[in-house]
């Protein structure tokens, strides 16, 4: 077999092995490829930067599933880091039944991270004062609308079963008037409901962090301003990590950056193999032409 025939017939298992190692390696060898930051990601970051501390809350709707965790989980963590660093209270909730486990994981891991660095009692984060997680509710649209009147009416108790009246934060935040922005982190078409119903009725600001597959659908809404910022896919998550790091809200880049390194290398790997295949194809065809 000539060399050019050989490179058109590389065993697929070799490709699979290389691909697997490119997914695993970045977890252990950290490299940073500088990122360009897309305007819609920057817009969300700037919006939250402009919220004054200890005033209105940021509401995060955790609506992603375990399968899309690599894309949306880092978004949640970066957002939480930014809010907590700036003293902005966070209210978490979910409309996807698979999401609460992930939401609790994101909240506890970031809270632990902050508390381990806290030097005084005032510095540490307090549940019910700095953040709450309301849990999951069915009847999405009705719940979203009712929260415009009274959040406590929709979520009388939080995810852990405590009455929300007992939380200082929830006494301050009664409805959307005290919510600076709602950020929906989702792998399905959830943000559209927020735009159609609570936004038109109560004028609440809406932003989103979506999987790469979902995101393009929302570009038109970013253009019209109905969505005040958008993180799209793992790349958006990595960009947000970068912004949060650059502003000193985090100590190191997170999992999205790692994922992006895998992504980049796998894209290059696939392209190299396509090129190899074509080089081989080109020479073998030329050879066949010469043989005739």
């Amino acid at each position: 077999m000539k060399w050019y025939d050989r490179i058109t017939r590389i065993d697929r298992r070799i490709i699979y092995l290389l691909l697997t190692s490119l997914v695993i390696l970045p977890f252990f060898i950290k490299v940073t490829i500088p990122q360009n930051i897309m305007p819609q990601t920057k817009r969300l970051f700037d919006f939250i930067e402009a919220i004054p501390p200890n005033d209105k809350a940021v509401m995060i709707s955790f609506d992603y599933t375990p399968q899309t965790q690599p894309e949306c989980h880092p978004m949640a963590k970066s957002l939480l880091r930014q809010c907590f660093s700036r003293g902005i209270p966070v209210i978490g909730l979910s409309f996807d039944p698979q999401a609460p486990g992930l939401a609790v994981d994101a909240l506890t891991s970031i809270v632990n991270e902050f508390d381990s660095l806290a030097t005084s009692k005032e510095d540490s984060l307090v549940y019910g004062v700095d953040y709450v997680y309301l849990g999951w509710k069915s009847g999405r649209i009705a719940a979203q609308l009712d929260m415009g009147e009274d959040i406590g009416g929709v979520f009388p108790r939080d995810y852990f079963g405590a009455l929300i009246d007992s939380f200082p934060l929830m006494n301050k935040v009664k409805n959307y008037k005290n919510v600076a922005i709602v950020v929906i982190l989702a792998s399905a078409d959830y943000p559209l409901d927020w735009i159609r119903y609570p936004q038109t009725r109560y004028g609440v600001n809406v932003a989103a962090g979506l999987t790469a597959v979902m995101a393009p659908k929302y570009y038109p809404f970013v253009q019209t301003g109905q969505v005040s910022g958008l993180m799209s896919g793992m790349k958006g998550a990595a960009e947000y990590e970068k912004l949060v790091l650059d502003h000193g809200y985090a100590r190191a880049l997170g999992n999205a950056e790692t994922g992006m390194n895998s992504q980049s290398m796998i894209h290059i790997l696939i392209m190299i193999f396509i090129i190899l295949g074509n080089v081989g194809y080109f020479f073998s065809r030329r050879q066949k032409g010469a043989d005739k």
Binding site: N36, P66, Q67, P216, I266, H267, I274, L276, N278
Partner: protein, 207 residues
Amino acid sequence: MKRKIPLGICLIMGIMMIIQFFIPHPVSLGFASTIYKWVIVLMAFALVLAIGNLIRHHTLKIRKRKEDWPYSIVTLFGMTAMAVIGLIWGVDPDSLYQRIFLNILAPLGGTMFALLAYYMASAAYRAFRARSLEATLLLISAFIVMIGFMPFGQYVHTRFPAFAEWVMQVPNMASQRGILLGVAFGSIATALKIILGIERSWLGGKE
């Protein structure tokens, strides 16, 4: 009669569902939701037949000791166990049924889904050959998007990510819309033919 009655029911159902779309009256909405409930009930009944087929297939395999027959036991056991667990102990969020869903079905499904990353690589390597103008265009546009949506895209040229975005938003969108419009007419025509009884392959043979 063996053909006329089913065809008539199909015609009536089709026309009623079309008319329903144009009537906002509560009677019409109530009709639509009742029918929908019936449809789900019918699916449940058909499932009994379907599961019957599955059981038959696997018991035959076991009885005749066909190749790989022990795995058929796995399927039958998994099905029976899951059904019993769900029917007896319920489906609450912290029931065993939901745990099995999260820890057995979800990882199995998620991993099958993740196989696609590998298959995309091997399919692209094998099939993306510049054999003709069309194949070359496909290859080039795939490259543009694969480079442009990655962080390193900006090092090719600062405007390259924007170019990749353009390929997605302009030529890609145009072709998708064109295909979609064609599909819509094919679909509508098929649906109409079914309702009008012109297309009756679902009845099976001539009698």
